[in-house]
């Protein structure tokens, strides 16, 4: 039997009731953080805010922001709000110690995260009769574990494929008649192209829906994936800092993602002044967790530029919708679903004996991200032996892979050949057209 909502009561709640629910949860969440996270208590004390000042959602703006820098300063346990013995899981982003986010979960936190993913799968038409192929990476990355858990909650037969090994993906998809595919949009496009090359037509492919996220993609790319695979493609949004995928998800209307705002309250702020902007304004997306135990985030600045909308949705959900993020307020790149900061590349270059003269070139060819790094050759590593230079280039590529979690193609270029405008080198050339 088809089911439209996973948690109907919440997903179709009136604005008034939702505000009431959020307010009750926020008061408790703030107290929980204040009592258990000295790092955030200090931020609140410095701002002169006490938990008693927070009576409901209308008081949220009084609280201080948390940023990536705070996560760095507090790494690894500084923002933990529960004893480690109560935690059952960690998930993490790639990166250096400073850039890496390690998020902790109690069983309650895992459950609420999986509920969020279950809502996303249900919104994409998933029921217990479906076969859900999860081709996001499993492991520290939140993609695989999140959708895997959501799929279990819905009751789908779950294929925990993880990413890669496309031939095996296709074999399982065809042999076991997978009906829902969860992965990054670029991997979905790649699987689609491979199926096409193998002679499969859209009508031969058992899939009916795809839930694709963890990287920016255009509507054009969506239409192309939908046509190749013969499916309807749904967007999903999330970040490890708040929980992982499922913070927001798309419904059949495909006009933005419903935020699971009973767990994550969204604000849009002016990135310069920090001032909260009215609905419909473009600004930086800020999330406040409302009922997380181990790793609560109060007013976490995502650096994603976004717009919120409370326009009535044809799917019947009343949850606020966020547009696809339109950019970043920092220099983070998302390449093949992985967050990449130029500073990580700089660190690797210095460790490997190169000067930090580099240029990142990102493009999207046949719906797949290409990732190249031009590195200026320097005296320290230059030799007359090609074999030695190639060995060093390989070692550099390995170090990049270890740091970033993805493989760039390295090109060694002549010293001072990387163009500098106004004396400052252009570090990133992103040729992808994502908006």
């Amino acid at each position: 039997m088809s089911q439209k909502y996973y948690q109907k009561e919440i997903e179709t709640m009136s604005a008034e009731d939702m505000k009431q629910l959020q307010s009750e949860k926020l008061v408790k969440q703030v107290k929980h953080v204040y009592d258990n996270v000295p790092y955030y208590k200090k931020l609140m004390d410095e701002k002169g805010v006490r938990p008693e000042d927070i009576h409901g959602i209308e008081d949220l703006h009084k609280l201080p922001f948390l940023t990536k820098a705070d996560l760095r300063d507090a790494y690894p346990y500084g923002l933990l709000a529960k004893p480690l013995e109560d935690c059952v899981r960690i998930q993490s982003t790639s990166g250096t110690t400073g850039r890496r986010v390690v998020a902790f979960y109690t069983q309650h936190d895992v459950d609420l995260w999986e509920d969020c993913c279950a809502r996303a799968i249900t919104a994409a038409g998933g029921t217990k009769s479906d076969v859900c192929q999860v081709a996001y990476g499993y492991g520290l990355f939140t993609g695989g574990p999140g959708l895997n858990g959501g799929s279990h909650k819905v009751g789908c037969l779950t294929l925990p494929m993880s990413s890669g090994n496309t031939d095996r993906q296709i074999q399982f998809m065809m042999d076991l008649s997978a009906t829902i595919l969860c992965c990054t949009p670029s991997y979905a496009a790649y699987i689609g192209e491979t199926l096409k090359e193998q002679g499969y037509k859209p009508e031969d492919i058992p899939l009916k829906a795809g839930i694709f996220g963890a990287e920016p993609w255009t509507d054009e790319m969506r239409r192309s994936i939908e046509a190749t695979l013969g499916i309807k493609a749904y967007d999903i949004y999330g970040l490890t800092e708040t929980t992982g995928p499922g913070v927001a998800f798309e419904c059949s209307e495909q006009t933005g993602m419903h935020i699971n705002e009973d767990h994550f309250y969204a604000e849009i702020i002016d990135p310069e002044t920090g001032e909260v902007l009215p609905e419909g304004s473009k600004g930086e997306l800020v999330f406040t967790s409302l009922d997380k135990e181990a790793f609560p985030m109060l007013r976490y600045r995502t650096r994603d530029i976004c717009v919120l909308s409370r326009k009535k949705c044809s799917c019947g959900r009343t949850l606020v919708k966020m547009a696809k993020p339109m950019g970043r307020t920092d220099d983070m790149l998302i390449i093949r679903g992985v967050n990449v900061f130029p500073s990580q590349i700089e660190t690797v270059l210095l460790n490997e004996g190169y000067e930090p003269n580099y240029q990142i070139i990102v493009d999207r060819v046949s719906n797949n991200d290409t990732f190249e790094i031009n590195v200026e050759m320097t005296q320290g590593v230059f030799t007359d032996k090609v074999s030695e230079i190639l060995a060093m280039e390989k070692s550099l590529a390995n170090a990049m892979k270890t740091m970033l979690g993805i493989n760039p193609t390295i090109h060694l270029v002549a010293p001072k050949s990387i163009s500098r405008s106004e004396g400052k080198a252009v570090r990133v050339i992103d040729k992808r057209k994502l908006i």
């Binding site: 050759m377 320097t378 005296q379 230059f382 030799t383 007359d384 032996k385 090609v386 074999s387 230079i389 190639l390 090109h411 060694l412 270029v413 002549a414 010293p415 001072k416 050949s417």
Partner: protein, 143 residues
């Protein structure tokens, strides 16, 4: 004893080699021998020149990355089998050759081979013991 070789890093792009040789010719530097090793992205230009100091200065002024490497120079007869004979001596002594290139003299009926090995002194001793005549930058100037 060894020969000093100039190594220049160039990108594997059109026009890069000519710009190096042009820089040298504008400063009256004469190239005695040259070899190129290339990969998809870059090339390594190895040169033996008559005026190292000027070559280094002018190329560095133009922003080139340069390295001086000492290599072994050996004189061989200009006849079939002569190169093989020299290489065989080294091979028999388990000397690994990273790369080599050869050039001819303008006047004498001899060829010259430039060898890049791990240990110059060792390779030189082996060649000399086998009766080969080694050459230096100064010898090259007289050719």
């Amino acid at each position: 004893m060894a020969i000093r070789q100039l190594t220049v890093f160039v990108e594997n792009k059109r026009g890069t080699i000519v710009s190096v040789t042009d820089t040298l010719s504008r400063h009256n530097v004469n190239i005695r021998a040259l070899s190129i090793a290339e990969t998809e992205d870059f090339g390594i230009l190895r040169l033996i020149v008559n005026d190292e100091a000027t070559a280094v200065k002018t190329l560095e002024d133009e922003g080139y990355l340069i390295k001086i490497t000492e290599v072994v120079g050996v004189k061989i007869g200009d006849a079939p089998g002569k190169l093989t004979a020299a290489l065989k001596v080294l091979d028999d002594a388990n000397v690994n050759i990273e790369y080599l290139y050869a050039f001819m003299a303008r006047t004498e009926k001899h060829a010259y081979v430039v060898l890049r090995v791990e240990n110059n002194a060792e390779a030189e001793a082996i060649l000399e013991n086998a009766g080969f005549h080694l050459i230096t930058n100064a010898d090259i100037e007289k050719l």
